[in-house]
């Protein structure tokens, strides 16, 4: 199922979408494969598959550590893409969005990279350090290849730029809920700015909105979806669970599955509570 299909399906089911973000290869490939399947089974509607990068400047300590571990374990972009292929071969139908910092696709050649992930079975690509201006040369390319190049909006995004970004956005728009990095926790005031931003985007564009950064519990998900978001992204919250048991992360799979279900419940409730 592709992204459009997924969002249509969820809308019909009156549910918010739950995108689960995993840095592939942390601490080992096999665990990531298992983790992704479990997440998909436990309520993740989209998998955001992160290709670890040496210098993840938009990530907080949790994901920094995840990248570091995965790279130390020998992960490479090629292996990550192979991972997507394996997930598909094993029957995973959940849409996959590949996340990576720009230097990774740049090193391979952006077009080749898109081809590879597309062939492996991904539906989109999300590059945290590729703002709309720099994304411009690649938007058409991605579209032509049938991939969504996901753009971001943030509380700091000006009205003018918001318009421009929404005009180019594809698949969904990744709404950065707070000013900060991944893994941050919500603080009262900042939540507000996310709500306002959701409203502003909604007013201008029908494109689905996925809210990320700092979503870690059911209540966050519920709040965002009830405010009008089409879903939320949870990432560091999962990693924080298994990183407490790195010698045997499998022991944490149940706990992660529980959280995933909780988040999904939040997405559902949020939808119901929409005014």
């Amino acid at each position: 199922m592709d992204l459009e299909g997924k969002f249509r399906e969820l809308m019909e089911r009156k549910e918010g979408a739950h995108m689960a973000h995993v840095y592939y290869g942390d601490p080992r490939e096999e665990f990531s494969l298992r983790l992704i399947r479990i997440l998909a089974e436990s309520g993740a509607d989209i998998i955001e598959l992160g290709i670890p990068f040496s210098d993840p400047i938009a990530d907080g300590p949790t994901f920094q550590a995840a990248c570091e571990r995965a790279l130390k374990g020998g992960i490479t972009p090629t292996k990550c893409i192979d991972g997507i292929r394996r997930l598909r071969e094993e029957g995973l139908e959940t849409p996959i969005v590949v996340t990576t910092y720009f230097n990774i696709p740049y090193a391979m050649g952006f077009e080749k990279f898109l081809e590879e992930i597309k062939n492996a079975g991904a539906h989109g690509i999300l590059v945290p350090d590729l703002p709309a201006e720099e994304a411009k040369p690649f938007l058409k390319l991605a579209r032509r290849m049938g991939l969504h190049l996901i753009l971001h909006v943030a509380p700091t995004t000006s009205q003018e730029r918001l318009k421009g970004i929404l005009a180019e956005a594809s698949g969904f728009v990744y709404l950065i809920s707070i000013e900060g990095v991944t893994g941050a926790r919500f603080k009262g005031r900042k939540e507000c700015s996310a709500m306002e931003l959701i409203k502003a985007v909604k007013a201008q564009s029908p494109i689905p909105i996925m809210v990320g950064f700092g979503i870690s519990v059911r209540e966050h998900a519920e709040a965002m979806v009830s405010a009008g978001a089409d879903g939320v992204v949870v990432g560091s919250a999962y990693a924080r669970i298994y990183q407490k048991s790195l010698d045997n992360p499998y022991r944490k799979i149940d706990e992660i599955a529980r959280l995933a279900r909780e988040i999904k419940l939040g997405c559902i409730e949020g939808y119901r509570n929409r005014c």
């Binding site: 400047i57 300590p61 920094q64």
Partner: protein
């Protein structure tokens, strides 16, 4: 919307590859810089501080003993005499003033050798701004003296433990911090790196070096130099020295990076030798990286050269052949420190000693009637422990 991208390019290099969160801050910065910088009020204040606080113009010193040793005429552009002991203040003062005029309350930055951090606190205090400095824990050890100085001046120091605990990691951490506070806080970038408009801003504030060289050499020699040699990583002192001569085809420009122990992947900081174009810290530039695009840690004894990337403008100038990229090895660098000390009574910063080492080793590249200007980017006070441990053990 493409304005920024076009402006921030040097050939293919440059750009602004950052989180969406920071785009507004960069646009605001670009707009503010273009509006505030040309103003008389700004120019006057900036030049008053450069002159009376910083000690500009710095001398262009004809190093006779060194010249005799080398067989051609060598001038040193004495940025070590700038307040704080290196060229870094030119930029820090300019940006701190800019931050103040923009209404920011706080400066953050990263530092490696400590020179830029120090310059930032100094400028911050002058302008009444709080300062917070991110520094890799390994660099903190190596530059303990500068760390202490910054604390004394009232800066908060944030030790960065991620990665290798060096400059690259500190830059990442500062970018992360900036994402949280860009509305009130100014990121005072320390070199001609980072997303647009930083490389342009920093080069603009450092341009004074070359403007002075040009005027001074014409006064002293009645002609332009045959070569200008500068060390660098991000490239700020080099660009500062070079910019007034880019259109002068007779002036050869040499950029000396940190060769480290040897030109092998894990032991060097020679990004022009060992790297290729890529994106790091918001900019497309020459970078040390593996086949997959993972950034490789650089290694050199000179903390200020220990960065795997070369700024976009210097990347471009080397690509088109206008600047010759060179390197010097650690052991040559220490010898250059000694040679300079014995010949001229000056102890250069380890970074600066790279430029000197290159000229000492490659004297054959210069002719007896050549005039060579070495941009003497900083003094060795900050490195004195490292230097002495090298020569005399601990």
């Amino acid at each position: 919307m493409v304005r920024l991208t076009e402006k921030g390019r040097f050939g293919k290099y440059g750009g602004a590859y950052v989180s969406e969160i920071l785009m507004q801050a960069l646009l605001e910065l670009e707009e503010s810089f273009e509006r505030i910088y040309p103003k008389n009020e700004f120019q006057e204040e900036f030049h008053r501080l450069l002159r009376d606080y910083g000690g500009r113009p710095t001398p262009l010193y004809h190093a006779r003993n060194l010249s005799r040793l080398l067989g051609f005429k060598v001038y040193l552009k004495r940025e070590d005499l700038l307040c704080g002991g290196s060229h870094k203040l030119n930029n820090a003062l300019g940006q701190a003033l800019l931050a103040k005029k923009m209404g920011k309350k706080r400066l953050i930055t990263e530092t490696a050798a400590g020179q830029h951090g120090l310059a930032t606190v100094m400028a911050g205090n002058l302008c009444g701004l709080e300062t917070e400095i991110f520094m890799g824990i390994k660099d903190m050890e190596r530059q303990a003296q500068n760390v202490k100085k910054m604390i004394l001046l009232g800066a908060k120091i944030k030790p960065v433990k991620t990665g290798a605990g060096v400059l690259k990691d500190a830059v990442s951490e500062t970018l992360r911090e900036w994402a949280e506070c860009s509305r009130t806080t100014y990121y005072l970038m320390g070199s001609t790196v980072g997303p647009h408009p930083f490389p342009t801003i920093v080069a603009t504030f450092q341009r004074v070096i070359g403007e002075e060289i040009r005027q001074q050499i014409l006064e002293k020699e009645g002609r332009l130099p045959n070569a200008i040699v500068a060390c660098g990583s991000g490239g700020s002192n080099a660009l500062g020295a070079f910019k007034s001569f880019l259109e002068e085809p007779t002036v050869r420009l040499y950029f000396v990076e940190g060769g480290g122990e040897s030109l092998t992947a894990e032991n060097s900081a020679a990004a022009f030798r060992l790297g290729r174009p890529g994106v790091l810290h918001g900019s497309l530039m020459q970078i040390m990286q593996d086949e997959f695009g993972q950034i490789r840690p650089s290694k050199t004894r000179a903390a200020g050269l220990n960065y795997p990337g070369r700024g976009p403008e210097i990347s471009y100038l080397c690509e088109i052949g206008r600047v010759k990229p060179c390197y010097a090895f650690d052991h040559e660098v220490f010898e250059a420190v000694r040679t300079m000390g014995r010949a001229e009574g000056l102890i250069p910063a380890l970074e600066t000693a790279h430029a000197i080492a290159y000229v000492l080793k490659n004297r054959g590249e210069f002719r007896p009637d050549d005039i060579v200007v070495i941009n003497y980017s900083g003094g060795g006070d900050k490195d004195i422990e490292t230097i002495l441990r090298h020569f005399y053990g601990s």
